[in-house]
Point group: C2
Chain length 192, copies 2
Amino acid sequence: MSKLIWKGATLVAPVPPTLVSCGTVEKPNVLTVAWCGIVNSQPPKTYVSIRPERYSYDIIKNSKSFVINMVTTDMVRAVDFCGVRSGRDVDKFKHCKLTAIASQKVTAPTIKEATLSFECKVTDIIPMGSHDMFLADIVSVSVEDNLLSEDGKLHISRAKPIAYAHGSYYKLGAKLGGFGFSVKKKGTSKKR
Amino acid sequence: MSKLIWKGATLVAPVPPTLVSCGTVEKPNVLTVAWCGIVNSQPPKTYVSIRPERYSYDIIKNSKSFVINMVTTDMVRAVDFCGVRSGRDVDKFKHCKLTAIASQKVTAPTIKEATLSFECKVTDIIPMGSHDMFLADIVSVSVEDNLLSEDGKLHISRAKPIAYAHGSYYKLGAKLGGFGFSVKKKGTSKKR
């Protein structure tokens, strides 16, 4: 094996291809954003990077709110469609059979069919080049109750999250371990 | 099914748990960062969010350089260890049998055992609360040649990337489709 040297590229993977809803319950729009992640733990902060020419750009800029929605792998076709098509040309909620419902703390609607939705209030918009980065506080989370076991524990694998890597969508595979597993004393970890 | 409402939380998933190397070839350090992603396509820009109390924080702040390294699922134990332990207490390169090699364009070393490495020059540091966000240009990428097929095409699945979701590490699973698959005309897509 040897290393090839390439110029800079956006191949860091996997990233979350999320459905970002904006607008209002009455007039919702949605676009898919994979340039998304967590930037802070306390308080919980996230970002989405969006090209200014996207239809949703001005909607989010003006309303200062959006919702990051995670859907299951069964809905990967909708995730792809909402990344390719523009809300200027098609009602993506209608086309993808998505339902806009009221959020708790922001004007942007939540997608009813999502398993996990993160309501976000924009705090800063930073131009980066092709994209602008919207930094935001995650002010509320809605969770489908079927993701929880009877003891109230969240099982993210039940959400069947979609991963994005180098231009393709993937399922999550087998669990490899929990945070801190490498330093646990032998005999103290329980099978679960 | 019904929705539970929680306060803000950092559950967006999956995110990439990457080995971030810093310092120099002679005195390298490495920490694991899952608060990492792409923020811009042209020019390619990324970020890592790091707590100021981490040992690597000042090293990266002073040198203005770091390298994001992706390793295969076989190395998940090293990924976990480098997120839990501090370079103040242990030589993590030595402990995890990692090799620091010279990068092309930054002082921070590349991890030889990585399949994909992204050399990054810091452009901005933005305090967020618990973490500071280091925004950076991706100025060079090194790729293990065994990730490429004979026609020079990158197969990211050969990198066996590790995903992080809600406190656990996962393999990537089955491919669900390529970007744009939902709008391809029937009969035009080739099996591959």
